[in-house]
């Protein structure tokens, strides 16, 4: 069980604001931190890791006090047994990929782990390269497995999949899911991607301007109506084009553009940029693998 | 341990010859430590391991003796003579007055603050009432050695230096020089003292060298380097 109750002043895009989080995370859960850019996700992760100190706050992990500003307790980063993947990767530029991993290894741990991890993310061939010679996604993978080398109790991931292609992303998500279960990890993942969160997280903390807007299981949070054969999409109006007596509204919804026929009266209320919901009463979807 | 003799720059050539002669005679070796009299004095005060000090003047050894760093009072071993020196072929037979000439841009003189030869040089210039005419041409060398460097590098056209310098073997045939009338400046009495550091066998060696300085052979060496010799004391300098 992780208890967090912290306060920190931040200067946000909309002026000064307080990052104020009071929540509990149960052991071995997979929690996603969701929220707009600048909401305070990275800051919260850094406070958990001990890289940043809040003005006021308490952090307790499994009954052990990591931070208590009132009692001036502050467990050093090193003793927090965490794995952290930085948004900018923070690979050591003077070490090769292998050396980066070996550095992370605890002395007693078996050195074969390095090779196994490299194989897992398909980087064996690049093991002797310096980070500067890697592509963005390759760097991200190195950062990810480096954080796993110590088999930490808590894994903190700051957008670890943002530069990965869909295939690699899914593969790594699965692997992290597996590792999460295998090593009984508690994982906190910063992500912007609802689908991703839906896939691997069992709880979401939705931050907005430093506050917890909502939190709970992903499907409850993202407000989907679970009714089979019913569809509700949200999207943005791209264009409203008159076509005879009716108008055709193009709506961008996720990865699709949907054209909807509306009456002239309805069309008047719709303008490009509007957020709209699309509902369907009689929807008989057919699913096909591609 | 070897005898360590601290010697002022101007006396280093004569001292070197002296050490050689001493070695031939007594088979005892000595090391020269060449420096400025001021530095040597500062170092002796802080316990420098020197046995003997051949200064460029009487003032420094006198100070040391008064402060108790020496075993005796200083004694004049030689009187320096001032010479006017030029590398180029030019008429300097008239003495320092040549420095006022059109063709002379720079006259090198030792810094009177740090070198006794500088004091003497300025006394001579002033005595000849030349100071105002040459003062803008004067460049000051930290020591006699630097005065020599100014002349030898061609940076200065004339130099007032010690006669012992131009008499030194390394300077043979380098330019021409004339002696400055010794009545124009106060005699540059150079003193020697045995330092407190000399003890036991070292003291014996130091005393032997000290005696050698004032022996006829030693005096001949100084004479050969252009020094004026002080009169021998009635009892022959034995201690």
């Amino acid at each position: 069980m992780i208890k967090i109750n912290i306060q920190k002043r931040l200067v946000m895009a909309g002026g000064e604001a307080l990052l104020k989080v009071d929540t509990e995370i149960s052991r071995e859960s997979f929690v996603a931190l969701y929220g707009r850019s600048g909401a305070g996700k990275t800051t919260l992760l850094r406070i958990l890791a001990g890289l940043l100190e809040p003005e006021k706050g308490i952090i307790e992990v499994d009954g052990r006090c990591w931070l208590n500003t009132d009692r001036k307790i502050r467990l050093p980063v090193q003793q927090r047994q965490i794995g952290f993947v930085f948004q900018d990767f923070a690979l050591f530029p003077h070490m090769t990929v292998r050396e980066n991993l070996r550095y992370a290894l605890k002395p007693e741990k078996d050195p074969g782990l390095v090779s196994r991890m490299l194989a897992m993310v398909d980087l064996e061939q690049l093991a002797d390269r310096k980070p500067a010679m890697l592509s963005g996604g390759q760097r991200q993978r190195v950062a990810l497995i480096r954080a796993l080398m110590r088999k930490p109790g808590i894994l903190l991931l700051d957008e670890p999949f943002s530069s990965l292609d869909a295939e690699m992303r899914q593969e790594l998500q699965d692997q992290i899911s597996a590792l999460h279960r295998q090593f009984n990890l508690t994982t906190l993942l910063v992500s912007h991607d609802m689908a991703e969160i839906y896939r691997i997280a069992d709880r979401v903390i939705w931050l907005d301007e430093g506050k917890v807007l909502r939190s709970g299981p992903p499907d409850a949070l993202f407000g989907n109506v679970r009714l089979s054969s019913k569809i509700r999409l949200t999207g943005k109006v791209l264009r409203v084009a008159k076509s005879g007596v009716v108008s055709i509204v193009e709506v961008a919804a996720g990865n699709t553009v949907i054209k909807v026929v509306v009456t002239a009266g309805e069309a008047e209320e719709l303008h490009p940029g509007d957020t709209v919901g699309i509902f369907s009463k009689a929807f008989n979807p057919v699913i096909r693998k591609i | 341990q070897e005898l360590r003799i601290a010697v002022a720059a101007n006396a280093q050539f004569a001292a070197r010859a002296l050490v050689k002669a001493f070695r031939e005679k007594t088979d005892a070796a000595a090391t020269l430590i060449v420096s400025s009299s001021g530095k040597i004095t500062a170092q002796v005060r802080q316990g420098a391991p020197f046995d003997l000090f051949l200064s460029a003047d009487m003032q420094y050894p006198r100070m040391l003796s008064e402060e108790g760093y020496t075993l005796d009072t200083p004694r004049v071993y030689a009187c320096g003579a001032l010479v006017l020196w030029s590398l180029k072929e030019r008429d300097i037979s008239g003495g320092i007055g040549a420095a006022a000439g059109q063709d002379i841009a720079r006259l090198a003189v030792a810094n009177p603050k740090t070198a006794p030869y500088g004091v003497a040089a300025l006394q001579a210039i002033r005595a000849l009432r030349l100071y105002d005419r040459v003062k803008d041409k004067i460049v000051y060398g930290e020591s006699i050695s630097q005065v020599n460097q100014y002349l030898l590098s061609g940076a200065a056209d004339l130099a007032l230096t010690a006669k012992s310098v131009v008499m030194a073997p390394v300077m043979k045939g380098r330019g021409k020089w004339v002696e400055v009338d010794s009545r124009l400046y106060q005699p540059i009495d150079q003193g020697v003292v045995i330092l407190r550091h000399a003890q036991g066998a070292g003291l014996e060696k130091a005393q032997a060298f000290y005696r050698f300085i004032f022996s006829p052979q030693g005096r001949a060496v100084f004479a050969a380097y252009g020094y004026v010799l002080p009169p021998l004391p009635p009892k022959g300098g034995e201690r």
Binding site: - | G38, T41, A105, N111, Y140, E142, S153, G154, A155
Partner: protein, 222 residues
């Protein structure tokens, strides 16, 4: 005990002028070395450090030989431009620049080598020339290194006296800088005057350095 302030002024002038020149000369040289992929780069790097390994007054002696009107370089300067480098302020400046060059070049080069290449590239894609990029992007990003180079050069020029003594000729008001003045007093066993000079030199330098470092922190923070 009469303390002459002239040497102090002269020293400050010398230090300011020499440091200024060192920035003008040393920074481009450092930039060239940092960017160079020449096989002889190591040679040039070693050469830049060489003035350091000669004792200052020996270096001064060789500079004296070079600068003297009867020497080649000095003769050329003297006949062509009527410039005399020995026993002149100009000579002091040149001598100090040569001697302090490594203190400017090395830190700045090291600083430039640590700037991420993407910053330079970003500036190029924004249409900025190499020169503009150098001044607007690279230099501001190596402030600590520039500061190091400037402070080391400045302090070193203040304290340096071997070269200056040799090629300057200790002419009051012209080439007798503060370092020589203190030295003279020590040589003359005039310790009280030496103490006063040394203290003055320390205080003034300390004041300047403190100002530089404090300003630097201010500027950095904002």
């Amino acid at each position: 005990m009469a303390i002459a302030y002239q040497p102090l002024w002269l020293t400050l002038r010398l230090a300011v002028v020499a440091t200024g020149l060192l920035l003008l000369v040393g920074v481009p040289l450092a930039a060239w070395l940092a960017a160079s992929t020449s096989r002889f780069k190591a040679v040039f790097e070693a050469v830049v450090s060489l003035p350091l390994v000669l004792p200052p007054s020996v270096l001064g002696f060789y500079l004296l030989l070079a600068f003297s009107p009867t020497g080649r370089f000095g003769g050329l300067l003297s006949s062509l431009f009527d410039i005399r480098l020995v026993f002149s302020f100009g000579g002091l400046v040149l001598g100090s620049v040569i001697y302090s060059l490594p203190f400017m070049v090395h830190p700045v080069q090291a600083g430039l080598q640590s700037v991420p290449a993407s910053l330079k590239e970003a500036s190029y894609t924004l249409g900025k020339s190499r020169l503009r990029t150098f001044f607007s992007v690279l230099l501001p990003n190596i402030k600590p290194a520039l500061l190091t180079g400037t402070v080391l050069s400045f302090a070193h020029t203040i304290g340096e006296f071997g070269v200056v003594l040799m090629i300057g000729g200790n002419i009051p008001g012209k080439t007798r800088v503060a370092s020589i003045a203190v030295y003279d007093e020590v040589e003359a066993s005039n310790y009280p005057a030496a103490h006063v000079y040394a203290l003055l030199l320390l205080l003034v330098s300390f004041g300047i350095l403190l100002l530089v470092y404090t300003l630097n922190r201010r500027l950095f923070k904002s």
